[in-house]
Symmetry: C2
Amino acid sequence: MKILVTNDDGIDSAGIAALADALREIAEVTVVAPSEEQSAVGHGITMKYPLRVFNYQKNGSFFGYAVEGTPADCVKMGIRNIMGESPDLVISGINHGSNTAINIIYSGTVSAAREAAIMDVPAIAISVTSHEAKDFKYAGKVAIMVAQKVIKYGLPRGTLVNVNVPNFPENEIAGVLVTEQSKAKWDDIYEKRTDPFGKDYYWLTGKLVEIENELNTDQFAIKNKFVSVTPIHFDLTDYDTFEKMKSWNIEKNFNEKAH
Amino acid sequence: MKILVTNDDGIDSAGIAALADALREIAEVTVVAPSEEQSAVGHGITMKYPLRVFNYQKNGSFFGYAVEGTPADCVKMGIRNIMGESPDLVISGINHGSNTAINIIYSGTVSAAREAAIMDVPAIAISVTSHEAKDFKYAGKVAIMVAQKVIKYGLPRGTLVNVNVPNFPENEIAGVLVTEQSKAKWDDIYEKRTDPFGKDYYWLTGKLVEIENELNTDQFAIKNKFVSVTPIHFDLTDYDTFEKMKSWNIEKNFNEKAH
């Protein structure tokens, strides 16, 4: 089995090292990751500038390929040029910090997995729920478990799996839940500061506003110490609204006006 | 009516000027847009660096606010700090180049509108299908038509409207279609070059591979000279796979192993 490993925290992060180490037990692992941290870059790709690729050493031996680009760039470059073939699986992570609810939209980690799914490669994004996480061993085990299930059962074209692992010791984990994306989102606050030269600048802060009484969501799972496993896709059409918009008569009205 | 206008081509682009001019006929318009081009940045937001905001002049008078950030940053900053209230509508564009099929994922234009929808503000993304588009008058008319329909009929929470206008004279436009997102996606090719110092670099190129016999999609519409109007959302859960994954027994198996 061949697995491409990437992330958004950068090739030198502890999470990707733990993930690559864990997966080498079950597969031939190729690491292609951003040369610098790319958190919250969403599904950006690099088109205005060319990409460069470097060999990255760790503890004196070759660890993987560092790309001066986004997580999605790494997946495209990894599959098209570095591997030159589709791997059996792409796994992105282990991210430092949760990727649940609306954060899925902003996440570079999830976007990398989504890029793989766009390229018809089964893909998993995996995160530990704390930015201060130090121990990724249990998350590594979860990655192997989910990877084996994905290989065994397969995924429909265009579907990827988003996994969040509570930052607790293994013996405190309540179990695993298959979940939906929570509707929780950020209440943004821009903190205004003034630089030493009298000019204003703004830091994005805020808090994630929970939805009460949500069950079966990724947020519900991690708050209750469950590993959350969410199938997500990128068919963005809102089919309910598609049907309703037929009664907007924009097709008829506008055509009549136009002709 | 108050409308916040943004884009991803940058505050100095011709498309946003045309959009703001058109919308001033029906609303009080506030322009908040990136100070530099931000195409294909996806739904990135700026968290590692602070944001700065500048007044931007055009032809000697105030045109809008330039933000040193992404399109999604502009919407957050525009609503939270510059307007200090939710507008009736956010419109992103007029983009130079189509945003159909998988490009919706990469698009800064669409992500700006999606950020508005996340903030519960009705939103529209509008694009003209050629990067060489010079005349945005017809697209401006379409923006007004769709804006008025959105205000009249409303949109469900979390839904936005993605509009693509063929780059043809108004009298050659066939009409308007309500469409789905096409499944077409890119066949990527990295073009390798060598810099004057002997080091390799790569340009992302490729072509959009059409899906044969697709009807009612955004790609189908624009290829047949129809204006395409697609309702999209950001509930990414794949509910079909959610049900199927229940039979993967990861919930049961893993819990048993864990305890």
